[in-house]
Amino acid sequence: MLKPKHFFLLPALLTLVAIILFPLIFTVRVSFSSWDVYQAGLDYIGGRNYTRVFEDTRFWESLLRLSSLSFITVTLQYVIGFALALAVWKQMKGGRIFRVLFLVPMMTTPVVMSVIWRTMLHESLGPANDILSAFGIGPVPWLSSAAGAFVSVVIVEVWQWTPFMFLLLFAGLVSLPREPYLAAAIDGAGPVRTFWQVTFPLMAPISIGALIIRLIEASKIMDTVYILTSGGPGTATETPSYYIYIRGLRDFQVGYSAALSLTYLVLMIITLTIIAKLLMRFLVGKDA
């Protein structure tokens, strides 16, 4: 039964409808229209856009590419972020300075940093190849070969977002109880065994949260690809977000890009839910 106090929820509910539900429902409606560069408006064409999505090999290839890109970047971010967090967790000289320094990349704007990285990796004029040439290496085709461009995107993503992983994992380490470590020390466990038997299991819930958050973010990668490689060479670094951007805002295929976006959203929700369940089962030993 509605009571006066329930009406206090109204502003929040209205905000939710305005900023989440309405755009989502509108996008669903647009995806069933032929809204295009010539045909504006919400006519109804049935599931034609979705049929096109399933036949669009470029979209599915970009999804596969995103899977490997996300897996590699997030894994590297987790490993490096964990290592850095462990390094500054214990008392060390200058630890506070390092904690701040490690966070700097995360605080920079991705677009600006991508421009800077693009300049650094410029094969003719950038310092990366200049430095490597001093050691007799190169020139490395950072952005003009498929493998080079993929690696470049990985480098920039890892550089930019490892600090985020570091921050979450460091916060987790700081909050760990001391008793298990005392018990491990009494039992004579060394640092490696203590890590695998105590730290890693205790950190599992936090690790899963950090991994999922980063996977969600990585699945939306757009600005780095846009600035660094424009999805090239060929389609070697084209991700779904960038492809949807091309179809929607460059080609102005509004209806089709809405169908692509919703398909992508559903796939991401399903995939990330499965990944979260699997991580919980293998790292924590139970379902979430």
Binding site: A146, P233, G234, I246, D251
Partner: protein, 542 residues
């Protein structure tokens, strides 16, 4: 204050309009008499014949021009208008290219007329949608629009025709026929010309004229070193000049800088390369499509040959050259790294900047042609003793007034002022403004020599540009609805071939399939009607 201005200011708006028309007619007659196409003649006219009427004119040098020049919409004529209390909304490209002159002349226009002028700057990638969304939703968001001229196929439904008064203005009568054609849709001018673009070849004269390099080239190839006349020759010369320091600056040089990055105008580079193989001078009825059937021709042998040569040329690019956007191409050639380049004017202007180390060491020439051209009527290759050229009148900047605008008169006055004689000559001199020659009077070697260019460089530049106007085998952009989709699809196919993901034929076959799908979705008849405008230009039918 100028006497006429004071007179006009005291009249009603209607009277001012009539007086405005009278001024246009007077100037038109004056222009016909005084403007012979030479800027030196203009200078003489300003200081000589027209001294009397201009004697009492105001000094407008505070606006950054040397002096006001005669013309329909010069500073004095614009000063005579009063748009106080009225607002003009303009959307344009980001600063500096076109965005900077838009803002500069908007500020001048506001000061002269009393109007409030708002300028919105948008990056190129967002410009199309920022214009199209208000159009599609029926919002009167902007009065004046600056955008790529190839979007006329999408925007034509929403643009106001240029009124007769402006069609007969001094500046408009000087615009070349080809750029008037670019601004015209179904026989009506709906874009206001303020820029002229074309692709042409740029090369280093110091290398081509170097006796030692000539001898080495002859030894290596058995051929005399000459400016390439075909794309095969271009690739051969570029390959020879790659990988060693032929200009003695201590840095390794390369043969060719090209716009090869997929989403950075690469589609235009590909059209330049494919045009001479696919555009047969004796075949009419469409370059990208067969106008009758609207069947895509993008995977026909001419285009495939162009793409194969594009792929082959990559070995002569500087490191990273396959990822070069327009900016990289400008700085690679303009900075002296490469022997040759082709695209818009910018790389040439960059090379000719006062502080450039290769100033006056560059030349301009027509885009290379082809000795074998695909004849789609006969279904075979035709041989030509002299290379067949197919100049690409690539898209450039254009402007227009929205049909929904409630300030059309002021909007056209602004565009006329933007492109008045003094402003245009000022803007042409500033490379970053992105304004390139588009009037007969701009093809005057004396003007460029006046900027400090060597006579031979200025001559080659002016000759190359002006001769493109005379060609009867020109290629234009695909100015039809959905051009963004067509070009995006083509660029992706070309990029896949350049990256080695597909063969040239396979890549273009896939593009053709995608194009057929776009034709189905947008509508064959609708596209045919639009494409007929392009074919008319290419087939020299006006």
């Amino acid at each position: 204050m100028w006497r006429s201005e004071a007179f006009i200011m005291g009249k009603s708006r209607a009277v001012r309009s009539l007086y405005h028309d009278a001024i246009i007619q007077t100037w038109e007659e004056t222009m016909k008499k005084q403007f012979t196409g030479s800027l030196s003649a203009i200078a003489l006219a300003v200081t000589g014949v027209l001294t009397a009427p201009m004697a009492q004119a105001q000094d407008y040098s505070r606006f950054g021009i040397d002096s006001d020049l005669p013309g329909t919409c010069n500073f004095a004529a614009t000063d005579a208008k009063d748009y106080s209390g009225r607002t003009l909304n303009i959307i344009t490209h980001a600063i500096p290219v076109i965005g900077e002159p838009t803002a500069l002349h908007a500020e001048q226009f506001a000061e002269l007329t009393g109007a409030e002028v708002n300028v919105v700057h948008v990056p190129f990638g967002d410009l199309f949608q920022r214009i199209m969304i208000p159009f599609q939703s029926g919002q009167n968001a902007y009065d004046v629009l600056f955008y790529g001229s190839l979007w006329i196929g999408d925007f034509n439904r929403f643009l106001a025709p240029v009124p007769d008064a402006f069609l007969n203005s001094s500046g408009m009568s000087d615009v070349t026929d080809s750029f008037k054609g670019v601004a015209t849709w179904n026989g009506q001018m709906i874009q206001y010309p303020m820029d002229g673009d074309r692709h042409y070849l740029k090369y280093r004269t110091d290398a081509f004229e170097n006796a030692e390099l000539q001898a080495r080239f002859k030894d290596a190839t058995g051929r005399d070193l000459a400016v390439p006349e075909t794309w095969e020759e271009y690739n051969e010369v570029a390959a020879f000049f790659s990988g060693f320091d032929w200009d003695g600056d201590g840095e390794v040089n390369y043969g060719s800088a090209e716009v090869a990055k997929r989403d950075d105008l690469m589609f235009s580079a590909f059209i330049s390369r494919a045009a001479p193989y696919a555009k047969h001078p004796d075949v009419t009825g469409g370059f990208f499509f067969d106008l009758e059937t609207m069947e895509p021709l993008i995977n026909t042998p001419g285009f495939v040959r162009g793409l194969e040569l594009f792929v082959d040329a990559q070995k002569s690019f500087p490191p990273g050259g396959t990822n070069f956007g327009l900016g990289d191409e400008i700085f690679s050639f303009g900075g002296g790294q490469t022997l040759m380049s082709y695209s818009w004017d910018d790389a040439f202007i960059q090379a000719q900047q006062e502080d450039s180390r290769i100033r006056d060491m560059v030349g301009a020439a027509p885009l290379p042609g082809a000795r074998e051209v695909w004849n789609r009527d006969s279904g075979q290759w035709d041989n030509f003793d002299e290379p067949s050229l197919a100049p690409y009148m690539t898209w450039g900047w254009s402007s227009a007034v929205s049909d929904m605008s409630e300030e059309k008169e002021m909007a056209f006055d602004y565009l006329c002022f933007f492109s008045n004689e003094a402003n245009t000559f000022h803007d042409l001199q500033i490379g970053r403004f992105g304004v390139n020659p588009y009037r007969d009077s701009h093809f005057d070697s004396g003007f460029w020599q006046g900027l400090g260019w060597d006579a031979s460089v200025a001559d080659s530049y002016v000759k190359t540009l002006s001769e493109m106007e005379l060609s009867e085998n020109r290629v234009y952009d695909l100015r039809i609805p959905g051009v963004g989709q067509f070009m995006s699809s083509m660029a992706n196919g070309v990029a896949e071939a350049l990256a080695g993901q597909k063969s040239a034929q396979d890549a273009l076959d896939d593009v053709a399939k995608e194009w057929a799908g776009i034709v189905d979705r947008i509508g064959e008849d609708r596209l045919r009607d639009a494409y007929a405008n392009v074919v008319r230009l290419e087939d020299n039918e006006g």
